[in-house]
């Protein structure tokens, strides 16, 4: 079993297609929607946690790509501009998944991007705007 968080970009022609349904039905994959912006006539964006057998997972990804969905790993979604971060730590209690943590010894703020679900709560809360969204 593998589980990965991915960002899907749907071109507007695919927005009304039951793409996610097919992932479940044809490839036996479990999904958990972390975020979605899907508006008719516009590009759709969905952040998914996708879980299943490795073989099915890869076939599912191939299916998505062949349908015209662009896929990117989630860690590229929210990034930290290290030059701007002052390690204050005001983001730490805001982060719902513990991706931002104050190191007890150094007091540096650590960013575990594999834990990030790209909710973007930290982006506007950061006083120096060091957390940036990249698509």
């Amino acid at each position: 079993m593998i589980s990965k968080r991915i960002v899907l970009h749907f071109p507007h022609r695919l927005v009304d297609q039951p793409i996610i349904y097919k992932l479940v039905k044809d490839f036996d994959l479990e999904f958990n929607i972390l975020k979605a912006y899907v508006t008719p006539q516009e590009e759709g964006l969905m952040v998914l946690e996708l879980t299943g057998q490795e073989e099915n997972f890869e076939q599912g990804i191939r299916y998505l790509e062949s349908s015209g969905v662009k896929i990117q790993p989630l860690s590229q979604d929210v990034i930290r501009n290290e030059a701007k971060c002052t390690d204050c730590g005001v983001c730490v209690p805001i982060c719902p998944t513990g991706a931002l943590v104050a190191d007890p010894l150094t007091r540096k703020v650590l960013f575990y991007d594999h834990k990030c679900i790209a909710c973007e709560l930290c982006v506007k809360v950061c006083p120096t705007r060091a957390m940036e969204v990249r698509f």
Binding site: D87, C88, V92, I94, R107, K108, V125
Partner: protein
């Protein structure tokens, strides 16, 4: 035990023993007050956090023909500066906003650019757009000025902050069922988080709680350059309740500080945007504490476990001026990542960067050890715990 003069002699000879306010805690724990006081000459303290009552004044030089900005208007990168002075002196406040900033019209406002950003850009050596208007006089005929300015060309560029370096500060929480946007950050409903803002055991006025060594004229690290304590800061409140160790249990003393902006560095003067609140400037300050006797060392070696502050509700008590504490916590508890408020475990976040404060304390220590930074005798004391000096609310009266 020793005088500032003697310490300065040791600094000049390269024999001074300087440690940071963090290092001194371990030293005292290991070898006791007596031995440490005999060894250590100076303890360096520091803080790096948002300090809204900051700003800078500039003399931009006279244009040809001359213009008198006094009584006119002046904007730096669209941010209005105060120009109610003579011809070409202006003052820019850190929290000033461009006239066309939407503020909180679309709530919560983002406050992406303000006076603090202009100050940081100037310190970074970037050109800044100056646009001014004047009414024109016989001696200052010009009515309009539009030019780029750069910090290196200004006659004076001086950081003058009227309230910095708070001695202790509240922990902010939200008891309401709605998210709130404050100068203490975003506070989630129903005690979702607790935000504090202090360097705790590194913070200057917490390590010299009775202002025995820090006074008017004290030379400090300010924004990466040299500065001085100019006065006590606004809202200085030395007569608040203190614990047996002398430490105030809530916000108390403050400092007004001044220094040459041209020497400062953008690393230590950082513009910040508080969602739904406004723009502020995070200022880096380092203050040396000369260890003149054992009592001064005792307070300089106080650790986070012994420094307490109040938990305050920012949904009601703070805005409504209700003096109400939800309890007391130590900085050690705050730094553990969670505190208990009304029986609930609440995650904590700091607005003040302890990492940066530590770097400043180390930097100031190295300046002193290298002989680049001599200590000063204060020329006058700050109003102290017994002074009767208090921070009064506004008494509104009908006009």
């Amino acid at each position: 035990m020793r005088t500032i003069k003697q310490i300065n002699e040791k600094i000049k000879k390269g024999q001074v023993v300087a440690v940071t306010a963090e290092e001194v805690i371990d030293l005292v724990a290991k070898q006791g007050i007596k031995k440490t006081a005999a060894e250590v000459d100076v303890v360096t303290t520091a803080t790096f956090g948002p300090m809204c009552s900051s700003g800078a004044y500039f003399n931009i030089g006279h244009s040809k023909p001359r213009i008198k900005l006094g009584g006119g208007t002046c904007k730096l990168n669209d941010v209005p500066a105060y120009c109610g002075f003579a011809a070409v002196d202006i003052y820019l406040g850190a929290s000033a906003l461009p006239d066309d900033d939407p503020r909180n019209k679309v709530f919560p406002g983002e406050f992406k650019y303000g006076g603090a950003h202009v100050i940081q850009e100037l310190v970074s050596g970037k050109d800044v757009r100056l646009e001014a208007t004047a009414y024109g006089t016989d001696c200052y005929p010009r009515k309009k000025l539009e030019t780029l300015i750069n910090i290196k060309d200004l006659n004076e560029a001086v950081l003058f902050n009227i309230r910095n370096c708070y001695q202790n500060y509240n922990v902010a929480v939200n008891l309401s069922d709605k998210i709130i946007y404050t100068y203490m950050g975003v506070l989630k409903p129903n005690l979702g988080n607790a935000n504090y803002c202090s360097a705790g055991q590194l913070s200057p006025l917490l390590k010299d709680p009775y202002y025995k060594t820090i006074g008017i004229g004290t030379k400090i690290f300010l924004g990466g350059g040299i500065g001085y304590v100019a006065w006590h800061g606004t809202q200085h409140n030395p007569t608040v309740k203190r614990r047996d160790n002398g430490l105030p249990v809530g916000p108390a003393g403050t400092l007004a500080v001044i220094g040459d902006l041209k020497q400062m560095k953008p690393e230590w003067l950082v513009a910040i945007s508080m969602l739904g609140y406004g723009v502020s400037l995070a200022v880096g300050i380092g203050v040396p504490i000369p260890i003149l006797d054992e009592e001064i060392l005792k307070t300089a070696a106080i650790s986070d476990e012994e420094i307490y502050t109040q938990i305050v509700d920012y949904s009601n008590a703070y805005p409504q001026m209700v003096a109400e504490s939800l309890g007391e916590v130590s900085y050690a508890q705050l730094k553990s990542g969670k505190i208990i408020v009304q029986g609930k475990e609440v995650p904590t976040g700091n607005l003040s960067s302890y990492t940066k404060a530590r770097k400043i304390a180390i930097e100031l220590k190295s300046w002193i050890k290298k002989g680049d930074f001599l200590l000063t005798e204060p020329v006058a004391p700050l109003p102290g715990a017994e002074s009767g000096y208090t921070f009064k609310p506004l008494k509104e009266r009908p006009i």
